[in-house]
Symmetry: C2
């Protein structure tokens, strides 16, 4: 994939990631003064939808564009229950910053379409038809392209079509932006894509959008690679896999190791969302292993070896399903069933009830459990290896497999539990998590834990490959662009 590009407005850098080179742009509040130039000709940006990304991106863009004459206006369905939430965030009909979605679409120079994937599928024809001549269409996800491909259609001609895809959930896009006010910014990395560029301005429009929402750094992808890695990633380590791994391991610790329920929760879920995520975020994956004592390293290695292939197998299946269009069709069909059966809650089971008690009684970080560490790192590395195999650029690999997990999603899980995290993601992500978590659970239970509990030795070659993996250096390079702020969550 071509990841080299130039900009007429922003300074670009070309970084070396292992054997590859990528052009990137660093974000920061000192770049906000360039946004108006990059948005040349755009007087109104319509942000359509108030789901996960909508509130975050609209508020960040509005704040970043303060002092320019570019207006950010929210468009929502007439009678939408989110109208009041948008007003509470400072948008209003009176000031002309809130309106009915098709009116806003028709009058905006740039339309950022952040309605749910399913709503995009239902409404894209009318949206396309309503767009102003020469408007810019912005997406934060390649899902719509995936759907268009599966029905043999495409975007309208004659307009710029760009993507800016924050590699984190909406609430963290806003939270970090707010937290970063005093340190020249903090936020969520974004990939960008130029799907159609009719006037040569698309790249700068996309970069400006990304910097405006607070991206620490911006890298290039295509909408096709984006939806594959994104839909895949949230079904993998970001949501589906972490949930499935937690269930399988917790059950194993309770039923087979005789551990108490709260201890088991601490040794599994709390371990992953707490110390493991924090270590990976600041020091990389390999440091989890390096920090263990010899016995711990042996346990890690045995579990890593038992889990890597069962995880890789499910990940391959997910990638095939996404890439073939099956997963997108499934999401569209699922939405049509919601009227009869809305998505149920996942947090009523005993394990998550135990988790609530554990969080309430939490005092400090628990000791790292080397088996949990080995399992979590194995799934993460399997996801990294698969995305590399499928040709994704290393920034996309790192963000979809590591950074989004440890800097955006896991901290939310640590703070509020799995249900909160799942409920604050997109419907596509929630559906994917519900679909694939049990698959990871069973494959881990049937293969990895059976082997591990039977005392199977570590796989020397696999562990060597882990220790010498290029991703460790790549993560270290990418970490130099990480803001100094950790997300901090409170009620």
């Amino acid at each position: 994939m071509e990841t080299i590009f130039t900009s007429n407005v922003f300074d670009t850098e070309t970084i070396e990631l292992a054997h590859t080179r990528e052009t990137i742009v660093r974000g920061g509040r000192d770049k906000f003064s360039l946004l108006a130039q990059a948005f040349d000709g755009i007087k109104q940006i319509g942000v359509i939808g108030w789901g996960s990304q909508g509130p975050a991106q609209a508020q960040n863009l509005r704040d970043s564009l303060e002092g320019t004459d570019i207006r950010v206006k929210i468009g929502l369905r007439a009678g939408s229950s989110s109208m009041q939430a948008a007003r509470d965030a400072g948008f209003s009909e009176d000031q002309g910053t809130l309106g009915e979605m098709y009116e806003v679409i028709g009058e905006s120079d740039m339309v950022i379409l952040l309605i749910s994937d399913a709503a995009q599928v239902e409404n894209y024809k009318k949206v396309f038809a309503t767009l102003k001549r020469g408007a810019v269409l912005g997406l934060s996800h390649g899902f719509l392209l995936g759907h268009l491909e599966s029905v043999g259609e495409y975007f309208p001609e004659g307009i710029n079509v760009i993507g800016v895809c924050p590699k984190g959930m909406g609430p963290s896009v806003r939270r970090l932006y707010v937290q970063g006010k005093d340190v020249n910014g903090a936020g969520i990395n974004c990939s960008f894509a130029v799907e159609q560029d009719v006037d040569g301005k698309a790249t700068d429009q996309a970069i400006a959008w990304a910097i405006g929402v607070g991206a620490p750094y911006v890298f290039k992808t295509t909408l096709g690679y984006e939806y594959r890695s994104d839909i895949f990633g949230e079904r993998g380590i970001l949501l589906g896999a972490v949930h499935g791994v937690a269930e399988a391991l917790y059950r194993n610790f309770v039923m087979e190791k005789g551990m108490g329920e709260e201890d088991a929760f601490v040794a599994t879920v709390e371990n992953i969302t707490g110390p493991l995520s924090r270590t990976i975020s600041h020091q990389g994956i390999i440091s989890v292993y390096n920090a263990l004592d010899e016995e711990g390293q042996q346990t890690f290695a045995r579990m890593y070896s038992a889990a890597y292939h069962p995880a890789f197998e499910i990940l391959m299946e997910i990638y095939d399903e996404v890439s073939s269009g099956n997963e997108i069709r499934s999401v569209v069909m699922a939405e049509r069933r919601f009227e009869r059966y809305p998505m149920g809650k996942i947090d009523g089971t005993r394990m998550w009830q135990v988790g609530e008690k554990v969080r309430a009684a939490r005092t400090g970080d628990p000791e790292v459990n080397p088996a949990t560490a080995g399992l979590y790192c194995a799934v993460m590395m399997a996801q990294i290896d698969l995305l590399i195999e499928k040709g994704h650029c290393l920034s996309e690999v790192c963000n979809e497999s590591v950074i989004e997990a440890v800097d955006s999603l896991n901290p939310y899980m640590h703070f509020k539990g799995v249900a909160y995290m799942v409920d604050n993601c997109s419907t596509t992500a929630r559906l994917g998590s519900r679909k694939w978590a049990p698959r990871f659970d069973y494959n881990i239970m049937q293969q990895a834990l059976v082997d591990f509990d039977a005392g199977k030795e570590a796989d020397g070659k696999l562990m060597d490959a882990f220790r010498k993996h290029m991703i460790h250096d790549v993560l270290a390079t990418v970490a130099t662009m990480r803001p100094s702020v950790d997300i901090s969550l409170s009620e």
Copy 2:
């Protein structure tokens, strides 16, 4: 769906099933003398493949056609490891009853294509091209039609294309046929479909084939309805659901009710595959409920009410996936991954190890556990209701949701365990079971068991609908055509 037909060779009956009428033909050894007439013009039947259905159908047909001049000849890939198994079953190159598959296809007047679904997808073009002019193509599954639909192709013109689909796994098709020798036959019911009929003989050819493999009764469907109900059914109550239900319930009994592991296995898996299946087979679903005492009925009703909708939700999803072609594409893609990751075993986990011990120590039937009974019956009824809603004829509904479970698959599970059952089904079924069992498990765990354990009351309307359901009369009518022989299994 039109289920009325006439035959030039066999006596038909029209039966009333609730508000519907279906034409059926009863099987039996007294009909074998009519087979040659129905197979008029057919001198050789080539049975291609030696998987699950191949050995059963080929041997049954050969035995049923004894004394006619119709030859049953097995066709296998050159160098196939199944050659010896076919020889052991009495087919041989010397006698001209065993050969290379394309040779056999090219020389047969009727070709029964029983290679795996994936092999059909890989080879159908060559198979179609190799068929003799005017040959009859027979399938035991609509999978290939589903694939052809998804790639926009169809069967060759100018030949009869028929389906005969035994509603049970291959080993039981053979086992019951052998057991039924002295009682005018016993076997597995078959649906038949006439997809293309160029000479008016297709219906009789299909009925003859079904009676030849030992069907107690034969009913009409289409290949389209067949693949939907069949692929759906094995993902539902036949394999996927029963596995998922067992895992969720066993875990609940051990982790939340504090039951011992062996007791929990008896109260769940042994209950389902033993007394519940036997009662349903002989007296129908409602009799499970009627046989309970008042307290047992209340428990049954609470669990039934908690489980029906969570099961229906997953079943709807499965039906959509199958009907849209997604599931067929998934199977085709899965087969392509097998070289890298062959299907793993599911029987290594502690629960199935416990099961082995329980089976070894088994003395008689355990007492029925009313919670297990309520859960199992809820999933079965949800499947019945969904198939009716989707327009399947009642014979297909009963066979895919009840009879195949309690007369074919569950007895095998009871005898040899879940892994044996799974490994003796088609790859499509195995894949489906592995995919959907965990989905049933999670939905049952997260919704049904949470509600049940919280003491949620029974749903009066749902229980009324269950008690007054038309399926009870329908099953009673269908049961009159059940042979007097129960499958009996031994090493």
